[in-house]
C-alpha cells in the first residue's frame, strides 16, 4: 500500500515528527511504500540543516534525510509556509525539496492513505 504523510509541526516542540518518522519506518519494514512526506505549517522546520541536537538526542532532520535517501521518499517542504518561516534553499537539508501545496493534494490523490501528524 502507498502512504502519503503530512507533518504540521517542527522537530522537538511537538512529538508529531517523531511519531511520523516511526510510522514511516514501520510502514517500510512491512513492505509498504511512502512515496511522499509533505512538511507544512511549522513542519517546514524539519528541513533546517543547521539543526544541531545534543549528542545524546535524536536528530530528526538527519533521520528524515537518510530515510528519504534509502527509500526514495520525496521530502517536500511547502514553499509558502517555508518562506514566511525562513526555511529556504540555503539552509535546506540534503534530500528535501521545496515545492507548492499542490504536492500535498497530489499526495492525497495518488496514495492509498494520507496520514496527518500535528499538534
Amino acid at each position: 500500500m502507498k502512504f502519503g504523510i503530512l507533518i504540521n509541526e517542527g522537530p522537538f516542540t511537538h512529538q508529531a515528527s517523531d511519531s511520523a518518522y516511526r510510522f514511516a519506518v514501520a510502514a517500510i519494514e512491512k513492505g509498504h511504500k511512502v512515496p511522499r512526506v509533505f512538511f507544512y505549517n511549522d513542519g517546514v522546520y524539519n528541513a533546517n540543516r543547521l539543526s544541531e541536537p545534543q549528542s545524546d538526542d535524536r536528530n530528526l532532520v538527519a533521520l528524515w534525510s537518510e530515510l528519504g535517501k534509502a527509500n526514495g521518499i520525496d521530502l517536500v517542504v511547502c514553499i509558502a509556509a517555508g518562506l514566511r518561516r525562513g526555511i529556504k534553499e540555503q539552509i535546506l537539508q540534503e534530500g528535501f525539496r521545496i515545492s507548492g501545496l499542490g504536492q500535498l493534494v497530489e499526495a492525497g490523490i495518488q496514495n492509498d492513505r494520507l496520514v496527518v501528524f500535528g499538534d
Partner: protein
C-alpha cells in the same frame, strides 16, 4: 513516470475533507488550512470544508484585525464559492455552545447536527486536519 501512475488513471476523483477545529489569529492553522483549500480547488476533486469546535469562529462576521496587526483573511472565505468549493459544513452543536447562530457567519453554510456530520465525515476518502 512515477510508480503510482501505473496503477491509477489520471481521472480518479477522491472526496477530500478539510477539518477546521481552531479559532483564527491565536494560531495560524485557520489561515494555512484556507491556503490549502484554495489550491485544492484547482484539482478536480470533490472538496468539503468542515468547521467544528472553535473552528466555527473562523467564519464569524465583522472581523477587524487592525488592532492586532495581523492580516484579516476572513473575507477570503467568500471566495470559496468562486473556486467552486460549495460543500461547507458547520456543526450546530459547536455554534450553540458558543452562543452563535448561522447569521453570525460571514458566508452561507450548511449547518448540520452532530449525527448528520458523523455520516458526512464517514463518506470521505481523505481527511486533512490542521
Amino acid at each position: 513516470m512515477e510508480p503510482w501512475e501505473e496503477e491509477e488513471g489520471p481521472d480518479v476523483v477522491k472526496r477530500f475533507m478539510y477539518v477546521n477545529r481552531r479559532a483564527p489569529y491565536g494560531t495560524i492553522y485557520a489561515l494555512e488550512c484556507l491556503e490549502v483549500v484554495l489550491i485544492a480547488a484547482a484539482f478536480d476533486q470533490d472538496v468539503s470544508v468542515v468547521f467544528v469546535d472553535d473552528g466555527v469562529y473562523q467564519l464569524k462576521k465583522n472581523q477587524d484585525t487592525t488592532g492586532i496587526g495581523m492580516k484579516n483573511f476572513s473575507k477570503t472565505y467568500r471566495a470559496l464559492d468562486d473556486y467552486d468549493v460549495e460543500k461547507i459544513y458547520v456543526e450546530k452543536e459547536s455554534l450553540e455552545k458558543r452562543g452563535l447562530a448561522a447569521d453570525d457567519l460571514i458566508i452561507e453554510v450548511e449547518v448540520v447536527a452532530a449525527d448528520q456530520l458523523r455520516k458526512i465525515m464517514a463518506q470521505q476518502d481523505v481527511v486533512i486536519s490542521s
